[in-house]
């Protein structure tokens, strides 16, 4: 391919090619620079930052980090984030894989299941602010404000439309013979789903899990109204309140920011493939 190109492309074309490559790499560096700025400030002393924002720290300085862990209650909010994210994602996968399977296999009662599918799709377009006030009212009257249960229920409810949509698309690619064969073997539907279908859904489950994990981890709208109490705040909430106050120690705040990025980026690097798959999958069909 490369040789083929060389033969055909005139010099000006090759120059253009190199120019575009350099431009793309430059844009990529610009895109990464805010992260660089954030991490570097986390290691620097205020004096070093005052001298130059972009320079590297003169030595690896971990004081900011130990301060940050203390002042932001890092481990408490980390625990809260993990609780909310893990439970929500497990419930999302359980519910939407079941529903996605049945909606995709709507050989009987077609209109009914198609109706449910359309209802869920309509739910995708509704912004959270439209149900914000009634949701707040319900949470208040059921005393679910400031509980993990309340937050998780809302997060799951807002996430199942997209997750189900992804499952429906995937199940349609699985040959029907698979579940028919299992039914003839005398399995009931639940056993059949658990033993035959769910294992086949693994690729899309990975996608749904990665996407929803990331989105729930960064979730802001629901947490803002439900998880206000200090001891229940997730990482984004904790940071919202922490950064919202007058931050006197900028470098400490950047250390806190850097600290909170570590779990997300580790997760993101591992699951990038599935996340990208989930986004383009939804886009192509939507």
């Amino acid at each position: 391919m490369a040789e083929h190109n060389k033969k055909k492309t005139p010099i000006s074309g090759r120059c253009w090619n190199i120019f575009v490559s350099l431009l793309t790499i430059l844009a990529a560096l610009v895109f990464l620079s805010p992260l660089y700025i954030c991490v570097v400030q986390g290691f620097k002393t205020p004096l070093e930052t005052a001298e130059s924002i972009l320079s590297l720290p003169s030595r690896i300085n971990l004081e900011n980090f130990s301060d940050a862990i203390e002042t932001t209650n890092f481990f408490v909010s980390l625990r809260n984030s993990i609780i909310v994210t893990v439970i929500s994602v497990l419930i999302i996968i359980f519910c939407s894989s079941l529903a996605g399977f049945v909606i995709a296999r709507n050989n009987t009662r077609q209109k009914f299941y198609r109706g449910i599918e359309l209802l869920l799709l309509a739910g995708l377009t509704i912004p959270f602010q439209i149900v914000l006030i009634p949701v707040y009212k319900t949470m208040m009257s059921l005393s679910l404000l400031n509980t993990f249960a309340g937050a998780i229920m809302l997060i799951v409810g807002n996430s199942v439309p997209y997750a189900t949509f992804l499952y429906v698309g995937f199940v349609k690619t699985i040959p029907r013979e698979l579940d028919e064969a299992a039914t003839i073997d005398g399995c009931n539907m639940f056993t059949m789903f658990r033993k035959v279908i769910f294992p086949v859904l693994k690729p899309i489950t990975a996608t749904v899990a990665s996407l929803e994990m990331l989105w729930t981890w960064n979730e802001f709208n629901v947490s803002l109204i439900v998880l206000q109490k200090k001891s229940l705040r997730t990482i984004p909430m904790q940071q919202f309140y922490f950064f919202g106050q007058h931050v006197s120690n900028m470098n400490g705040a950047f250390a806190a920011a850097t600290l909170s990025m570590i779990p997300v980026f580790l997760f993101f690097l591992v699951t990038q493939k599935y996340i990208a798959g989930g986004i383009t999958e939804g886009a192509v069909k939507g």
């Binding site: 359980f94 529903a99 869920l120």
Partner: protein
């Protein structure tokens, strides 16, 4: 298929003494079908429960709230009829958030899509560092709005003034929406870029090559072959960008709190403020309902118009 039920033999009782006329096998079959249908329904019950609890029921009860004067915290509320809706059309305070949201949506849609298309075109070639660039554009999508706001607030305030002598974009009423757009693009461009990229990769190489043989230059190939082929990606990305722009809440909320002087209050924030600060939940909900109708109409219109332009190959 209702016929499974209707067509079956129905037990007929004659004189009370006669045996029930019923094929045992058919009876069993019917039982099995009912059980099967019930199990099937059970599969969708969990999703329906969560969905109803957090979207469907709140949406419906929101319509009710919009006709009341609920203040957002007390137990009682009175029915006020169309007053909130009349307020919406007569109260000029809503014009500011509408204007802000529209400008912000146009900025993010146009700049965001141009940038992500350019990035996708840049990446859709063979060169060293391709994987690195792809990762760099995509990585910021993993960051929470709170964190992005914090980092960018600092960049706008300290770095830009120190390095380029540019005044804080977020600090002035005339530039605050542009500043927010830049933050939004940083977080969001990676997603649209992926959609454009996967669409670009579906273009058959032969098509571009034959156009080249026919003497079409780079730009001609781009406008006559590439662009028409990726219209489906435009449909998706532009519709999504417009909806996201109209919905925007977290970014202005965390970066500027709507300031300076309400220059970055979006409709989403206006609804939130009516509940939490102004204690006018009923009115806020009326705004929300009108807003929902507007979003459905706008995104329906946009995706409909773009779909018509899609080229089928």
């Amino acid at each position: 298929m209702r016929s499974a039920f209707v067509g079956d033999a129905v037990p007929v009782v004659r004189d009370g003494s006669q045996e029930i006329v019923m094929d045992d096998k058919k009876m069993q079959k019917r039982k099995r079908i009912i059980r099967h249908e019930l199990t099937k329904f059970l599969f969708v019950v969990p999703v329906l429960c969560f969905f109803s609890f957090s979207i469907l029921i709140p949406f419906l009860s929101g319509i009710e709230i919009s006709f009341t004067n609920w203040d957002g915290f007390s137990a009682e509320k009175d029915f006020v009829g169309l007053k909130n809706y009349i307020n919406f059309f007569t109260n000029p305070s809503v014009l500011r958030p509408i204007k802000n949201t529209v400008i912000y949506t146009i900025l993010t849609t146009v700049l965001g899509n141009l940038t992500s298309l350019l990035f996708a075109l840049g990446i859709n070639r063979n060169f060293k560092g391709r994987a690195f660039c792809r990762m760099a554009f995509f990585l910021p999508t993993a960051i929470s709005m709170v964190l992005a706001s914090f980092i960018w607030k600092y960049i706008f305030r300290d770095l830009f003034s120190q390095m380029f002598g540019i005044k804080n974009l977020l600090g002035q009423t005339s530039t605050v929406l542009l500043g927010l757009t830049l933050i939004h693009m940083w977080i969001d461009v990676g997603i649209n870029m992926l959609v454009y990229l996967s669409s670009l990769q579906t273009i058959p190489k032969e098509l571009l090559e034959s156009a080249e043989i026919d003497g079409a230059g780079y730009w001609k190939r781009f406008f006559k072959v590439t662009l028409p082929m990726i219209v489906p990606a435009f449909t998706t990305c532009i519709t999504l960008s417009i909806t996201f722009g109209l919905k925007e809440f977290a970014l202005p909320f965390t970066a500027t709190q709507g300031g300076p002087m309400d220059a970055s209050v979006t409709i989403g924030m206006y609804i939130y403020n009516n509940l939490m600060s102004y204690k006018r939940a009923g009115y806020g909900q009326a705004v929300a309902i009108i807003f929902a109708v507007a979003i459905v109409l706008i995104s329906g219109f946009v995706s409909g118009t773009l779909r018509k332009k899609e080229v089928e190959f």
